[in-house]
């Protein structure tokens, strides 16, 4: 009887280990995380608006239907990525998410200069190189270190009425998230 009690105690202890281990493993094992879902959009390196209806309308769960959302998946393996987006003053935001879906940086239209925001996403190793290339510019660019090589950027624009959606969709898709051009050293 005592041995059964010990077995149950050991079992409970192991259950705790299993619980913690499985919980920590879920984000990397989940096959339908937000990054994977956006793969259906063909949005690697460019912004594609999420559809309003049809089977892919629910691509991201709990996506606010009052917003027009465009997504772009980035990969920093080939160098830093520059995100440029026009945000109207009705309310617009650029949110940068890491591979597992956690957002690590966001800007709203309040931070826009001349209606656009520009953010450079880079890896930790590329920070030093980017700072060396710093030349006098009209406005300093915002540099953000991504915790993961891959990730995605969402441009989210508020639509005050359904009639505003087509124009906002075009605006959201006009955002770019291409590879940063290395500044050419002009003598």
């Amino acid at each position: 009887m005592m041995r059964l009690f010990y077995a149950l105690v050991v079992g409970l202890f192991l259950a705790g280990v299993v619980h913690v281990g499985s919980l920590l493993a879920i984000p990397s094992l989940a096959p339908r995380g937000p990054y994977d879902r956006l793969g259906a959009l063909q949005a690697d390196g460019r912004f594609v608006a999420l559809p309003d209806d049809g089977a892919t309308a629910d691509l991201l769960a709990f996506s606010d239907p009052s917003f027009v959302v465009a997504a772009c998946r980035y990969d920093l393996a080939g160098g830093p990525v520059t995100v440029r987006a026009a945000l109207p003053s009705t309310y617009g935001a650029v949110a940068i998410h890491e591979r597992r879906g956690a957002p690590f940086y966001a800007l709203t239209d309040k931070a826009a200069t001349n209606g656009t925001v520009e953010v450079v996403i880079l890896r930790e190793n590329d920070v030093a190189a980017a700072e060396q290339d710093e030349t006098a510019q009209a406005r300093p660019s915002i540099r953000i270190v991504s915790p993961s090589d891959a990730g995605f950027v969402l441009v989210r624009l508020f639509a005050q009425a359904p009639s505003a959606r087509p124009a906002l969709k075009t605006l959201a898709e006009s955002a770019t998230c291409g590879r940063s051009t290395t500044p050419t050293s002009n003598p």
């Binding site: 879920i26 879906g101 956690a102």
Partner: protein, 192 residues
């Protein structure tokens, strides 16, 4: 023989309890933590890298791109004020005032986070659409049939969740979390 049996009991207990606890925590969330106001619940920490493993696992399972910390805070209600699950067969009245925010949106979702199909195709309301009367609180009616005032149509049947998102608000900050404001009350009306 007895030893093998005991070892099997140990592993069975570990697997069932451990994985069961993970499944429950990921699908329903932890009962503690977060910001709870009446039936509304939000996890402002989800909008940053400081999110705990429970929040991260929930995001991965739901396939959601949560609102970033500086962007907004999203509240979710799965029950009315009396604790009864929200059902499309009933009418609901949401009434109250909202804390300072640049923008808010309110809409029903399916429990998995999908869009609800209704005859009208209108999916929710927002601060840009709702009608305010001076000195009166916000009133939003949820029903399958048309109501006077600000009305959101509910689908033909099934359970649903309400999502109230406040954008550009100080609500998620630690200071504001200690003195939570009031949100909309969820009152159930007639059921069919």
């Amino acid at each position: 023989m007895r030893l093998t049996l005991l070892v099997m009991i140990v592993f069975a207990v570990a697997a069932v309890l451990g994985l069961g606890a993970t499944l429950r925590a990921v699908t329903h969330g932890l009962p503690i933590g977060g910001l709870t106001i009446g039936p509304w619940r939000a996890d402002p920490d989800i909008g940053g890298l400081g999110a705990d493993p429970y929040l991260r696992a929930g995001v991965a399972r739901r396939g959601e791109a949560p609102l970033a910390y500086g962007d907004g805070v999203a509240f979710e209600a799965r029950t009315d004020d009396a604790g009864r699950s929200l059902d499309a067969a009933c009418d609901y009245t949401l009434e109250g005032d909202l804390p300072a925010a640049r923008l808010w949106t309110l809409m029903p979702f399916s429990p998995e986070g999908g869009r609800l199909e209704t005859a009208l195709g209108r999916r929710g309301t927002s601060s840009a659409e709702t009608v305010r009367v001076i000195g009166r609180p916000i009133v939003v009616e949820l029903s399958q049939t048309a109501k006077a005032g600000d009305w959101i149509q509910l689908p033909a049947k099934g359970a649903f969740v309400l999502r109230l998102a406040l954008y550009d608000t100080a609500l998620g900050t630690p200071l504001a979390r200690r003195t939570p404001p009031q949100l909309l009350a969820v009152k159930r009306g007639a059921c069919r």
